[in-house]
Symmetry: C2
Subunit: 400 residues, 2 copies
């Protein structure tokens, strides 16, 4: 391509410094004119996928092709300008990487950006690119979207081809992206899903009572009125408690089963390389190492209960409305105990989509003391386009 590469500025520590992954987009595609970045778990031909860990990077070869979604976006006209920081091997939800530092959350500079798609969220929030690719296994798109005031979808599990990305936990891994507005989100979604994004309003909206109770009081106080306002746009609405056994129990099973898969994905490499991890990452792998068969069996049973219960909730179709995160972005550099507590609490809400494979879109519809908080739409399997289409309608309604 003849285009010149513009000078690259990254005041937010969002980008990997040693990877010049620049792919000029097709000149007359539907995404022409848009720039994007990709989390450093997406393969780019000729570059090593670093995965946020220097020992991973040092022991892997350059990729031999572009990840399917990257190639699709470039073919559709978007220009990729770089790769972005991630929590180590996607094992984190706050975005603090012990090797490469923490990308700056320009919407809340004293706070974490959220992770693991930390650099992608920071780059979009700070206006460095129009959109950015991330992945969501346990909340890694939804949480940074909420913390940085962005739109971010965890698609239906299996809908976006996982070709050319670093695997964490196959039963949970999904690819999503971040934008600052719903219409750009929809524009990209049409390319990714190959379908038009409809302007339809769901027939039914369920407000997840227990999810709002799980969130900090000030988060609920801000988001609950927004949810009410949106429910007024929908023909039928109802209030439901999702988790009879409690959201904490719901989260515990995913923590166990996801940890087990995540360890399975890397254990041969770990045994060979003896890589360096920050302690909290290694602690999560060790959780898996120390699991008993009883714990795994019990978690698998609970997983079935969660899935059955959510099928009931969706028996009449529609969407479920819940806070994306229990709290706004935590302060940078919290002590370990405080970090672990918030990590645990975040999973109480993220596990619902994660466990059931349903799509969940976070919308930047609230602020608590000037800090962004996201409201989420959780939909039926395969309803990704409808969620995004409704978000576009809601965005317009909120602005006007």
């Amino acid at each position: 391509m003849a285009e010149d590469k513009p000078p690259f500025i990254d005041p937010l520590n969002a980008f990997c410094k040693d990877t010049e992954a620049y792919l000029v987009g097709n000149t007359d595609g539907p995404l022409s004119g848009l720039t994007f970045a990709a989390k450093d778990i997406f393969d780019i031909e000729g570059h090593v996928t670093g995965g946020g860990n220097p020992d991973w990077k040092a022991t892997h070869s350059p990729a031999n092709h572009n990840a399917w979604i990257v190639q699709t976006l470039v073919d559709a006209g978007a220009t990729m300008v770089g790769k972005t920081h991630t929590d180590e091997l996607t094992r984190g939800i706050l975005g603090e990487n012990a090797h490469y530092g923490t990308p700056i959350n320009s919407k809340a500079p004293a706070r974490v950006p959220g992770g693991s798609s930390s650099g992608s969220a920071a780059a979009v929030a700070g206006g460095l690119v129009d959109f950015a690719l991330g992945s969501d296994t346990g909340g890694s798109v939804r949480i940074p979207a909420s913390f940085c005031g962005l739109y971010g979808l965890r698609p239906t599990h299996g809908r976006v081809l996982l070709d050319g990305i670093l695997t964490q936990s196959p039963s949970y891994d999904t690819i999503g992206w971040f934008t600052r507005d719903a219409s750009t989100y929809a524009r990209i979604a049409e390319v990714v899903f190959g379908n038009p994004i409809p302007d339809t309003i769901p027939s039914h909206l369920v407000i997840a009572e227990d999810a709002f109770e799980e969130a900090d009081r000030d988060v609920s106080d801000v988001l609950r009125p927004v949810a009410e306002k949106i429910s007024a746009m929908v023909r039928n609405s109802s209030q439901v408690r999702l988790a009879p056994s409690g959201l904490i129990a719901w989260a515990s099973q995913q923590n166990i089963l996801q940890s087990e898969e995540a360890w399975d994905s890397v254990k041969d490499w770990v045994d060979t390389v003896n890589p360096r991890f920050s302690f909290w990452v290694s602690e999560r792998y060790n959780l898996a190492i120390n699991l008993t068969q009883d714990q795994i069996t019990e978690a698998a049973l609970l997983r079935e209960q969660v899935r059955t219960r959510m099928d009931e909730v969706f028996a009449n179709g529609g969407i479920v409305c819940l806070p994306t995160a229990v709290a706004p972005a935590p302060l940078l550099g919290l002590p370990a105990s405080a970090k672990k507590e918030i990590q645990g609490r975040l999973s109480h809400l993220t596990c619902i989509a994660g466990t059931t494979g349903r799509p969940q879109l976070s919308l930047p519809l609230g602020e608590v003391n000037g800090l962004p908080v996201g409201l989420s739409f959780l939909g039926e399997h395969g309803s990704d386009e409808e969620l995004i289409g409704f978000a576009r309608i809601v965005e317009e309604a909120m602005v006007t």
Copy 2:
């Protein structure tokens, strides 16, 4: 001091590259003319004690005084030329440091030097210094002494002041040193202990049958005749099985109790800093995190049984003779499973002195296929001088 610092050569990756810790020895002391190095867990005034982990180094201040033993040796005339590599925070027995690389075992270059006092052993074995300081918590002097063909003492627990060293597990930590010959060992010991080293032969020598059985067949085949030869120098000798419940059980309790203390020593720092460790180091800390109170109680009971049994073995005084290590130095870069197996097996013999606080001196008295293997004298509490004195006699007897 007026002496010029000679050019420093380190072809063995034994020394820390970024620490110029050079202390000129007193000109007319008993150790004048000797050069030494110290494992990078010994404080040197004005230098940060790195402990084999870059995040430890980055988060600690320079030491405000020299460790007691370093100052004592310099006052006695020895010149300290540098600090040496260690396994991370002394948590390793093979000497492979993921951050700084593996010191070269010049006696077996395709093999590990042993750890955690890896650089000190490598520096002495390679002739870069006359002696070097290490520490022994679970075998970190004895094992590298065996692997590198050196003399190395784990002193009676509590006999050498632990002032100015990085703590691993206080109930087990000791300071030792390496030399190439027994007479230099004795010369240093007279300074450290403040007592003359006697030329006395113990009244009784016990050959630890089960310890010889625990070692590889070719190690026993080489060391057993040496032990017989030494027992012929002693008035009474006998053959005893030390561990009625088996040496594997004996080692398991120390693994648990030492892990718990080691984690206790660093957990506040780990929680604050979230440091990077190689995975195998973090796995050992996680062992402690996941211990149950039942496991700890059971281990403490077993520890008492070990101590009582060894008091019985020493009822008639004398020394116990056993192989230092179950095998010669393993090859560099073994797979994790093989490494863990050898680490576990090494502890079956090292735990005896570790658990009972008794002194153990490894003597370089054997070779298996050209690889050094050490024979050990285990003594009564406080008999450090006698062990070293007898080693000097044995050395002479073996040479002549």
